[in-house]
């Protein structure tokens, strides 16, 4: 018995390691297979391109959320930041500022809003949950004040701006390109630079990180700013896609982003997880949304199915 065990152990260990690394990816593949069997049109190239485009917004927000969650925090304000920065960007465009410049400024403004979160959390020593819950309400309120509850339209017909959300680059939807480029940059930052290590270190053991000379407050402020900036970037894509800024844009996007991060295997208690997982997590959610639509599942049941998928995915992840 014992000798057999000794032999099999490394194997199961390796298996475990593989499923651990591939867990979310495996989930995605299973999902894709099921959906395409039930409705083959899912696999049509145009649908895949659409899917990628739809996923981009959630993925971008979830990338920022990954950093935040890795530090053991949470950012409930991303949806509100998206809405506010989108409204401000559209406002600038309407007032005649060059669209790409407006997007740039919008992203910076988003970053500043994130920075406000970061400062409340570090200087104000507030729990991230409650700090970003409060700023969420504030940013939402400000968006409504700024827009008067009406969408902002008349954004002109700048070609580059339209491309930004609706165009194709080398046959790939521009938002998907943006998402992939952002992913690559963030992947390198997270896994190949000291900043990334610090992110993990803060989430893994904040006190020890502080003692090790990591400027914890600075890193956190940067990470919440990054999260805000990415939300604003997602907002710019949305603005271009809708050719308008919606006052209620991004409602409950924070929950989708958090779900993507968690489905990707990142632990909500911080210090553990990977941004590649988040990409997969976002694709899982996107595939679910797209697939359930294609299958004609009523939106009521869609909610039930989505919740169950999240439960199962996380449970399987825990079991390993």
């Amino acid at each position: 018995m014992n000798s057999i065990n000794a032999v099999t152990k490394p194997k199961t260990n390796m298996m475990n390691a593989i499923t651990q690394k591939l867990g979310p990816l495996l989930g995605l593949i299973i999902l894709v297979v099921i959906v395409s069997i039930l409705n083959p049109s899912f696999l049509e190239p145009l649908n895949i391109l659409n899917l990628l485009r739809q996923v981009a917004i959630n993925a971008l927000i979830a990338f920022g959320m990954t950093f935040v969650i890795l530090t053991g925090g949470i950012d409930l304000s991303v949806g509100a930041i998206l809405a506010l920065s989108s409204a401000l960007t559209a406002g600038m465009m309407v007032s005649g500022i060059d669209p790409l410049l407006a997007i740039l400024i919008g992203c910076i403004l988003g970053g500043l809003m994130g920075m406000v979160n970061g400062l409340f959390i570090t200087k104000g020593k507030m729990a991230p949950f409650i700090a970003t819950l409060a700023t969420m309400t504030i940013f939402r309120g400000l968006t409504l004040v700024y827009t008067g509850g009406n969408p902002i339209t008349g954004l002109g017909d700048n070609y580059l701006f339209q491309l930004f959300g609706r165009g194709y680059f080398l046959g790939i939807p521009v938002p998907a390109v943006t998402m992939i480029l952002t992913f690559v940059v963030l992947f390198i930052i997270l896994h190949k630079t000291p900043f990334g290590r610090k992110t993990y270190a803060i989430g893994g053991n904040e006190k020890a990180a502080l003692i090790s000379g990591i400027k914890v407050p600075k890193v956190k402020v940067m990470i919440y700013s990054l999260s805000g900036m990415l939300a604003a970037l997602a907002g710019a894509i949305l603005t271009s896609r809708l050719n308008s800024a919606q006052p209620t844009a991004g409602t409950s996007y924070e929950l989708d982003a958090i779900a993507a991060v968690v489905l990707g295997g990142t632990s909500l208690s911080g210090g553990k997880g990977r941004i590649f997982g988040t990409l997969i997590g976002a694709l899982i959610i996107g595939t679910l949304n797209n697939g359930l639509n294609l299958l004609g599942v009523s939106s009521f049941y869609q909610m039930v199915v989505k919740g169950i998928v999240i439960l199962i995915a996380v449970l399987l992840d825990r079991k390993k």
Binding site: N5, K9, K198, A201, A208, I211, S212, G213, S267
Partner: protein
Amino acid sequence: MRITMENIYKAFGTNQVLTGVNFELVDGEVHALMGENGAGKSTMMNVLTGLHARDKGTITIDGKETYFKNPKEAEQSGITFIHQELNIWPDMTVLENLFIGKELKNSFGLLKVTEMKALAKKQFDRLAVSIPLDKEAGNCSVGEQQMIEIAKALMTEAKVIIMDEPTAALTEREISKLFDVISSLKKAGVSIVYISHRMEEIFSICDRITVMRDGKTVDTKAIPETNFDEVVRKMVGRELTDRFPNRNPNLGETVLQVKGLTKKGQFEDVNFSVRAGEIVGVSGLMGAGRTEIMRAIFGLDGFDHGEIWLEGEKVTIKTPDQAVKAGIGFITEDRKDEGLILDFSIRDNMVLPTLYSFAPKGIINEKSEIDFVNMLIKRLTVKTESPDIAVGKLSGGNQQKVVIAKWVGIGPKLLILDEPTRGVDVGAKREIYDLMNELTDRGVAIIMVSSELPEVLGMSDRILVVHEGKINGELLKENATQEKIMTMATGGQ
């Protein structure tokens, strides 16, 4: 590097911790810093390295007044601190742990992983540890984690290394390796501040000793000019005749019997028994699996097969509450993480396992609760102004007493003590030993897991030696010696 700290004051809120402490460190010396729990040793070093700002006083380094703003600055100036509390990231690999906050990067700002690996390998070889670099630190035993911390400190090429109880979690083998490293560092002109509660060590490796009491320096002496008793007297403020009390065990019936306990990869075919009134010491090397065995008995982690018998009856213990109901108490090796709720009061901590006995009608009778807590505080001589003080504010020794009190309160049949005196000063240690004696006199059976050989030899009636998850031998108090235990612990007979 020459460091002088003069007349340093430091208070946390109303708690005046340092009250005019003086300390001096010269090149190439190993300087012991001793004192009771809470004397302010760690705090003084935290002030030196910039983790805490001083309230008053001067710090001179190589003739120049220097105040670091944070530990990183101190490290860059050549002062490295191995903290008492392990600074480990359990979910990160050993390699990542070694380089946190000081990763090597190339001109693009990217990590240089190969270089870091090579460097880590070199340090590990020097310390003769063989922990895989890609193992998750959380899967390392406390001892291994301690070695990671030491390696991390050595890597900084420091001129001064402060070691705050570096050996608390180590067994003899690792300790002797560490001592080799310390002497070679000393030869290279590195000076070391060595804080420890283990007396033997101080006299074998240190050059000078500074004793602190109540936030003040009592004395600084060269090691040859002082002795064990003098140091203890200065620390505790009174004479301490013997380190261990006399034991006159009066053994009763067998309380616990473990038969063939096995858990794959952790321990195998563990058989032993403990009688009422007996102290069974459990010794072994770091990571031998002693803690795992105890946790299994207490129902914390399951086991694959084997039987547990209590007072002649076979019992099933799957969860700690079943163990508690059966009259077993467990003082874990990690007091802060598993033993106490640091933010909660002494009272709240002490009554946790006995809550229901104060609430016969569902509502807690606070008066009987307070009486009970006061009785325990008195009986275990916990030093505190009030039972409503948060345990986190007590000194290490007193915290340990609160944990023990918690279990004394259930009127246990069997107490499992895992490293009961880790990080506890000599005075408090003696009090804990007295307490163990008192408990066994009243018929409690005790299992004491300990890495401190003198303690095992001094307190046990019988000694089990664990080697790689198996009980490799059993020694009676009369014929046990350090050498015999070490041989068995390393696999010999």
